[in-house]
Subunit: 187 residues, 2 copies
């Protein structure tokens, strides 16, 4: 059987979100899986704590409030039209997995599915929902990365209908060593 | 006199932060200006509402709590070593503006300074500080962009001491038109 996802250390999971990629957030409401496009995310802590912002206008909002879990999946820039398409329709009347041919995989800690095509998936439980701002505080429970992610580019949403891909990688690991958490310092 | 910054519509300011760039956040504590590097940011609303995450370990934290304002400045990828350097020293014992040769400009709505070299500056007031997570809720009061920002690349922090620049821009404005806020729809 093909190995599609590899385990990724939870205390390095912040490096998947810190660069600010657009994400796909999956949920399972007890009956159906769903997926939404979210670019409003933030790292809160090196210890696998994150925030996403959404609200009641989003069909997945009720699933998150009810089940208190989700998966943050990180698409490659090649998935642009899937990312845009998912944001343009609603789980209320559309099976987005079927519509966009998304392959799901069973997660280990939550009922929301992993997305095979994505560069990474973070299984999360809801710590708290700050309703007044639509902020969902999440704790990572497990993380997985694609063995094919090397050399693939993240996708950043500008918010006006344009997107950027990653260009050059710049290395300042030696210079930043005194300030980096031990989990990401290379021996 | 050289025009360094141009006014930018506040209801488009979310497009400055949505792509997830590393930012420089300036403060003024009543006596001194200071600046910190922050990559944990999030858009909360199209209507110029943002979140940043920091905490008491950061020297600027007290200034933000006391004055309840700051400026979010967005550096270009060419400013990488300034961005890294600012993150490696503390305003407690260092005049970072002098050390990194940063040119300041007076803001219109807050006492924290604008940074001339940056691609954009957003003047913000603090709406609320959610102490338990170190989340600072900010409201944009005015935004400015550099006339030289076209063609310049944002800088994204991965969190492990590496950074990425923007690569290609991909345009899905027509496809996304039904879902975009009117402020960013081109006529």
């Amino acid at each position: 059987m093909e190995i599609v996802m590899q385990p990724f250390p939870l205390d390095q999971a912040f490096t998947l979100l810190e660069p600010g990629p657009v994400t796909l957030v999956t949920t399972h409401d007890g009956e159906h899986d769903n997926v939404m496009t979210i670019s409003w995310t933030m790292v809160l802590d090196f210890d696998a704590r994150f925030a996403i912002t959404t609200g009641p206008w989003n069909y997945s909002w009720n699933a998150i409030r009810k089940t208190r879990e989700c998966v943050i999946a990180i698409p490659s820039s090649e998935m642009l039209d899937t990312v845009v398409g998912i944001g343009l329709c609603s789980g209320g009347d559309t099976d987005k997995f079927k519509k966009f041919g998304l392959v799901r995989r069973k997660a280990s800690k939550v009922d929301a599915p992993l997305l095979d095509e994505c560069l990474a998936n973070i299984e999360c439980r809801v710590v708290e929902i700050i309703e007044s701002y639509g902020i969902v505080i999440l704790e990572g429970m497990a993380a997985h990365v694609s063995p094919h992610r090397k050399g693939k580019s993240l996708l950043h949403a500008v918010g006006d209908g344009t997107f950027t891909t990653d260009g050059t990688t710049l290395d300042r690991r030696m210079m930043m060593r005194p300030k980096l958490p031990s989990s990401v310092i290379q021996p």
